[in-house]
Symmetry: C2
Subunit: 283 residues, 2 copies
DNA sequence: CCAAAAGTGTTGATATTACACCCATGT
DNA sequence: ACATGGGTGTAATATCAACACTTTTGG
């Protein structure tokens, strides 16, 4: 199969596609119903109907069309292959090794990742050859999609304190308890609630709505939303907005206050280093 | 110009190219000779000979060929347009907005960045329509290349503590003084040398070679190299190797030591948050 | 001995961790 | 009253920024 002979293929431009890793955090109900100790992440895969890797599962994706932005292409592809409509997409990486299609025509994949409401994920549609899999129970995957998924999961773990991501997972407003629980689930580690709440409140990211959430027979919890200053960053990694402080690090600063004129930049990295916890001691 | 009519163009796949931002840190000699207070970064640009943006300067780049990896394409393109042969390339981002070519055919650019020896940069070749510009003295740029350069500079600043980058800038082995000076130049801020050296030594990244560097009439400095454990990460952001500690952050940990089986991951982010300095106080 | 950079010590301020404890609520 | 999470306090420790200080060299 394939088009043309070897030398023709050699000079042809490669195919370009957009591939997306869609993630959904399972609800607490489902987790307890399934008897899982912690909420898991699920993702939709599409069964391949053609070679190469026919019959295996793959990430949803499709060709990149001209006069579409990369994001638009990703959205359209998702809609047509899985009926999903995430409200937030972030570019992950572009993969282009000729080896990755192992025999097929060379394929460049511009990869995105996104989150989707739990609700959408409950659509366990078996139509369209789409199926949801738990992140820790994936089938054999086509191409290098396993690696792409790993990278997407890594990104999620490192973006979990970001307005867009949190909103997608629990909506707004939310209680500190909810936030804590989701962060724990995604990061896969336990965090001291008392310190967590203090740090969040000190971070200036949150804004008290004044409302409370009453639930069950316990004390009502204050509801927060993200401070509007802290949007930015997450959508487009290249939007390294000038703001706040630098990343932090090495030795001591000097304190001459000579910030450059090309603008300091916060963003993906600094947002994280500023907000993520240090590894706790195991004592 | 342009091929086909509008509707044909609309359905055609977009052009795909590889674009590179090459950076070189000027030597101390040049900086002092030019009377610049701090060493600057320089980058090569190519003058466009065709529309769109004919006559303006642009980043070196070229079409992506099939049966080449993205990196290979970037290397080849660089060699043919600028005669540069960086030993290290890192993917930056893929830009694909139809608007970015403003009128031309839609163009997807997979962007890389790299560092090059000061030596190579001394080749101020005016042949090939290539010219080097200081990062703070750029001409008007074609497409959205100004933005791409900003992003590359941002990445460099945040990768400056990484083996590959340091090696490219000062080679190995190096003294703590050299490292300190380069980091200061790239980050564009002054760092307390005493604290810098302590932090570096504590970081476990460095390994004493046992040798010393004698220079001038001053005390010889110990020479270090990077500990071989700390390679990884920088080349391919998706190589999030399991190692060391998590990123750090939020509230308190819990200390049950239940690291997940899918592997903790250090990498670009954690490497940075672990090593970069916090903003010094200006007092 | 001097200049200059290498390298070490110290201190106050701030942040982090781990854990004890009180608070408000519906049943 | 009591179980349950919401929310606060706090002591021990670690980290950091700042800057004073000592050491080693060539001339």
């Amino acid at each position: 199969m394939g088009i043309g002979n070897v030398s023709e293929r050699r000079n042809a431009p490669p195919q370009v596609g957009v591939t997306s890793v869609i993630l959904a955090l399972e609800s607490e109900e489902r987790a307890t119903r399934d008897g899982v100790s912690r909420r898991r992440l699920w993702l939709p895969l599409v069964r391949r109907t053609r070679e190469p890797f026919k019959g295996l599962w793959a990430l949803p994706g499709g060709p990149l069309k001209a006069n579409r932005s990369l994001e638009e292409s990703a959205y359209e592809t998702l809609a047509s292959t899985t009926d999903l409509h995430p409200t937030y997409l972030e570019q992950l990486y572009t993969f282009g090794d000729p080896s990755r299609s192992s025999g097929g025509i060379p394929m460049v994949s511009i990869c995105y990742w996104a989150l989707v409401e739990q609700a959408e994920f409950d659509v366990r549609d078996s139509e369209h050859n789409v199926r949801w899999f738990a992140q820790n129970d994936l089938p054999q995957l086509a191409f290098d999609h396993a690696r792409i998924i790993d990278y997407a999961l890594w990104r999620l773990r490192h973006r979990i304190d970001t307005p867009n991501v949190v909103r997608q997972l629990i909506g707004e407003p939310f209680t500190l308890g909810q936030l804590h629980s989701v962060v724990e689930a995604v990061r896969g580690e336990q965090l001291d609630l008392a310190n967590f709440r203090r740090k969040m409140l000190a971070s200036q990211m949150l804004e008290d709505t004044g409302d409370v959430l009453r639930e069950g027979r316990r004390r009502p919890a204050a509801l927060y939303r993200f401070n509007s200053e802290f949007e930015s960053a997450a959508l487009d990694p290249t939007l390294f907005t000038a703001s706040a402080d630098e990343v932090g690090g090495f030795g001591g600063g000097y304190g001459r206050g000579d910030h450059e004129s090309d603008g300091g930049m916060s963003d993906e990295l600094s947002a994280l280093s500023a907000l993520m916890p240090n590894t706790p001691h195991t004592r």
